[in-house]
């Protein structure tokens, strides 16, 4: 069946990028403003789901050729390694540190190890959501 969805297709092509960008913003802003790895991850997945719904799963896999099961693993690994990293400094598991740094262009910025951990959460959430949706969706 050929659906008549030109408007949807055209709009989605733009919207997806806005949503993706917003999800990255959410992820980075998480420490001090609403957002964080969990929401960011969900937002990213919703952008991908939007793609999948508008076009189809095959197109999505062609456009974004990731193996999401690997992304789950990568996320978990980053989270665990960030936690274990504190051993190097003689601190208990999952101790976080933060500090203010003068970065080029951006100026004064706060960098925190919590962001690294959050990256793990972000990747795990994207991986989990997409794995579930793709597996169920692909199953015919």
């Amino acid at each position: 069946m050929k659906a008549n969805d030109v408007i949807l297709r055209t709009a989605v092509k733009v919207i997806v990028f806005i949503v993706l960008l917003f999800s990255v913003y959410l992820f980075l802003a998480g420490h001090n403003a609403p957002g964080g790895g969990f929401i960011g991850g969900l937002m990213t997945s919703s952008a991908l789901v939007l793609l999948a719904l508008t076009f189809d799963l095959k197109t999505l896999l062609k456009a974004v050729p990731f193996n999401y099961r690997w992304i789950i693993g990568a996320g978990l690994l980053i989270a665990v390694l960030t936690g274990a990293g504190s051993f190097l400094f003689g601190a208990p598991f999952l101790s976080h540190a933060f500090g203010h740094f003068e970065l080029p262009i951006l100026g004064d910025a706060e960098l925190a190890t919590a962001t690294l951990f959050d990256l793990g959460v972000y990747l795990a959430v994207v991986g989990v959501t997409m794995t579930i949706i793709l597996t169920i969706g692909e199953d015919q």
């Binding site: 929401i39 937002m43 978990l76 936690g83 976080h96 919590a114």
Partner: protein
């Protein structure tokens, strides 16, 4: 972190490298890369040996989870030194042997060495840990690596059966041991063995003493294959021979003995300990040797002989514990000889049994069979292996001048002295001990001779063999050669071993002996009772070996149903059937039923707690006034929820339920919780999308044709859930028993975690550990769904598999 900690962790770290080494250097056998590690560890330990001999002990502690009193404490004394040397020493030989035993082209040796290294690290962890919870962790890890190694040839049904059996039995024991450890903690408030030793009076006087003792011993007995748990060990022989030599004879099965030895200062001196350890040990000794004689497989003979010898060592530690008894009188040291013999025999057993296993492996490798009915006459073809077999077997039989003779003599001394005890009710039963010991030794002599002469003596039967037998390659001969050499060297110079290994270890088992106790081992004690007993064993054993044909038929008389294996199998079958029946009763495959269970349980438990603690009082306190917005949202939500049960179309249903979700989003917005609002909104959106994807698979919504009574129950349950949740929410808001933790988060969020968004700081920092486990659970769930859908077996659905429901 010290070198000792590194020594335990090194095998684990190295195991990570093994698959890469295997992949990058396919031409070189991976074993060559593994070999240096145990050798290095062995050398490292040897350099510490002189300090241990001089009575020094090393304690190094690294806090792990200090808040749970969990410390990775490494404790190196004579006993752990002895075991560590065994683990690394035999480990080196076994790795060398395995290089020639396992073909690099046909077998998946990268798996093999990963498991083997994992085991080595775990075993070192067991013998070097002072903290019992850490010890328990390593203990179970040895069970798991043993499981993996037994199932190494996992295409064989017997391997899988043996692996499962060993796992079930040893992990069962491990759990009991954990319970025993917890009881010990309740008594002393500590997990440290050294602290237990300091508070033995407290432990002995406690009500929980006997339960703790029995539970801990269950762990030790299952691991060390004592009667009636030994049945897993013969089946574990399905593992490759290097594994049998290493795990199932020299090291892992001695973990139970290690535990008994280690805890002797804690439990020793009690009659229960004495009787259980020495009694079960002697029974195992007898039973194992009796059964070994009827085996026809070389490795089965060795397996039962290992069972029997483990029983021997176990019983010696039980007898030795009498030295700690309060009734032992003026000369408790008389009984210490048994413990010394136990340690001595432990070393000897590792040497001769290791050599024998390796010989059995050589025979299997070079002839293609291990069946003694097909073997024979190999002495001329494989003279070197034959020599090792003779040395090992004669030592096992207790013949001079090998080390087995010396420890067997000491064993007899131990049981003879025990029979003379005038406490623990030994006046009545004491005479049994030497009798059982003697009979078991006769059988030991018989199967030792069977092993050697049925394989190497007699006539060659080339027509029954798959290959033309010839001597093994040099690399396979070196490890048994080293062990056989040790058998002779220890036999000739026992006091070197006594000074370097036995005395330091004995000081750890029986610390009350003090420094002035020396173990002196000599060949000749004059015409003592022990010597006559040995002569009797040889004469009787030789006679019975000669007449074996005539009395072997007696073994067939034992009813098959009474065999322990049959008990195990039928128990397992029963458990299988029983749990299947139980599970099928409530796992109907209907989602509605499952929800009913969950909700009824929820109403019951929460409702009961609610009434029990009079939570009514809180309701109505501190509620904010309801604004117009909230009232409108509430009304919309109510309408949406009430419509849900009457909807007939799935799309409408999704929209209605989605409406409730989005209404919740608006509530979050009203209450100024942007994070929650965002999350809830995206979750709603994504789940609607998921629903649409699933839509393809879902059949038309059917109205459930239930009885009126059922529908009435359903209404009752849903109303009940709603009521309980509402009341709990109101009550929780109204009654504050202690200040909320949110104030702490508000204060500390920016100061100590550097983030202004409290929700996020809680997620990644304050409660980061929760988050980590949550994403782990999510990951597991996703992989589970993936596995379930992708790997679905294309079989017709069986009963109750109605997944189109609800």
């Amino acid at each position: 972190m010290t070198l000792l900690h590194a020594a335990i962790l090194a095998p684990f770290g190295y195991a990570v490298l093994v698959p890469f080494l295997y992949k990058w250097f396919r031409k070189i056998h991976t074993g060559w890369f593994v070999l240096p590690l145990p050798m290095l560890l062995f050398t490292f330990l040897i350099t510490h040996l002189y300090r241990v001999i001089s009575g020094e002990t090393m304690v190094e502690s690294v806090p792990w989870v200090p808040s749970l009193d969990l410390h990775f404490t490494v404790y190196l004394d004579g006993l752990s030194m002895l075991f560590s040397l065994l683990i690394t020493g035999i480990g080196s030989l076994v790795v060398l042997y395995s290089i020639f035993y396992l073909s690099k082209d046909k077998e998946s040796i990268h798996h093999f060495y990963v498991y083997l290294l994992m085991f080595m690290g775990a075993m070192l962890g067991v013998v070097l840990s002072d903290h019992l919870i850490v010890l328990y962790g390593f203990w179970e890890l040895t069970s798991i690596s043993s499981f993996l190694l037994i199932a190494f040839w996992h295409r064989r049904g017997k391997s899988r059966y043996g692996a499962q059996k060993s796992m079930l039995i040893t992990v069962f024991g491990g759990f009991s041991m954990l319970a025993g450890i917890v009881l010990l903690y309740l008594m002393t408030g500590s997990f440290s063995v050294r602290e237990f030793i300091g508070s033995t009076d407290l432990i002995h006087g406690h009500d929980l003493f006997v339960p703790a003792l029995v539970l801990v011993l269950l762990g030790a007995f299952t691991k060390s294959a004592q009667f009636p748990f030994y049945i897993w060990l013969p089946d574990a022989m399905e593992a490759p021979t290097p594994v049998s030599a290493y795990l199932h004879s020299a090291t892992m099965v001695k973990a139970g003995i290690y535990l008994v030895a280690r805890l002797t200062p804690v439990f020793g001196g009690a009659a229960e300990w004495f009787w259980l350890v020495s009694g079960i040990g002697l029974l195992t000794l007898f039973w194992g040797s009796l059964n070994a004689v009827k085996q026809t497989d070389l490795k089965a003979i060795l397996a039962f002989s290992t069972v029997s010898q483990l029983g021997l060592i176990m019983s010696l530690f039980g007898l030795g514990s009498a030295a700690l008894a309060p009734d032992a009188g003026i000369s408790p040291n008389v009984y210490a000889v048994a413990a010394a013999a136990g340690i001595f025999h432990l070393i000897n057993h590792a040497t001769f049994k290791g050599a024998l296993f390796m010989v059995a492996g050589i025979v299997d490798h070079e002839t293609g069979t291990r069946d003694i009915r097909k073997l024979g006459g190999l002495a001329a073809l494989m003279p070197i292996s034959f020599t090792f077999a003779v040395i090992g077997a004669f030592s096992m039989a207790g013949l001079p001048p090998f080390n087995g003779f010396l420890s067997k003599e000491m064993f007899f001394t131990g049981v003879l002295r025990a029979s003379g005890m005038d406490f623990f009710r030994m006046e009545t039963w004491g005479a049994l001990f030497p009798a059982i010991a003697w009979v078991a030794s006769v059988f030991t002599f018989i199967y030792s001779m069977l092993f050697v002469f049925r394989t190497f003596g007699g006539k060659l039967q080339p027509e029954k063999l798959d290959k033309r037998p010839h001597e093994a390659p040099l690399g396979m001969l070196i490890p048994p050669a080293v062990l056989a050499a040790l058998v002779i060297v220890i036999g000739l110079f026992p006091n070197v071993a006594s000074y370097a290994l036995i005395e330091p270890a004995l000081a750890a088992v029986l610390p009350s002996l003090g420094d002035h106790y020396h173990v002196h081992i000599s060949f000749w004690h004059g015409w003592s009772t022990e010597l006559f007993m040995t002569i009797g064993v040889v004469v009787m054993g030789a006679l019975m070996y000669w007449l074996l044909r005539h009395w072997k038929g007696l073994y067939g008389r034992w009813p098959k149903r009474l065999a322990l294996n049959a008990v195990y199998d039928s128990g397992l079958r029963f458990l299988d059937r029983f749990s299947a029946r139980l599970t099928n009763r409530y796992m109907t495959g209907s989602l509605r039923h499952y929800l009913i269970y969950i909700f009824v349980f929820f109403i019951g438990v929460t409702g009961y707690t609610f009434v029990r603690f009079g939570a009514w009082e809180g309701i109505g306190n501190g509620n904010a006034p309801i604004t117009a917005y909230e009232a409108v949202l509430m009304a919309a939500m109510l309408i949406a929820s009430l419509v849900t049960p009457f909807v007939r179309d799935r799309i409408t249903l999704i929209i209605v339920v989605g409406a409730v979700g989005y209404m919740v989003v608006l509530f979050f917005v009203l209450f100024r919780a942007p994070d929650l609002a965002l999350t809830q909104m995206i979750v709603e959106t994504v789940s609607v999308a998921l629903f649409l994807l699933c839509y393809y698979h879902l059949p038309k919504l059917k109205k459930e044709e239930g009885k009126i009574r059922h529908r009435f129950t359903n209404v009752l349950i849903s109303a009940g859930v709603g009521a309980v949740v509402t009341m709990v929410a109101l009550s929780a808001n109204g009654s504050r028993w202690f200040p909320s933790i949110s104030d702490y988060y508000v204060e500390e969020s920016y100061v100590s975690a550097g983030g202004k968004n409290i929700v996020n700081v809680i997620l990644v920092d304050f409660r980061g550990f929760d988050t980590m486990l949550e994403i782990t659970v999510l990951g597991i769930a996703a992989l589970g769904i993936y596995g379930m859908i992708k790997l679905r077996l294309n079989q017709p659905k069986q009963n109750g598999g109605d997944r189109h429901e609800g």
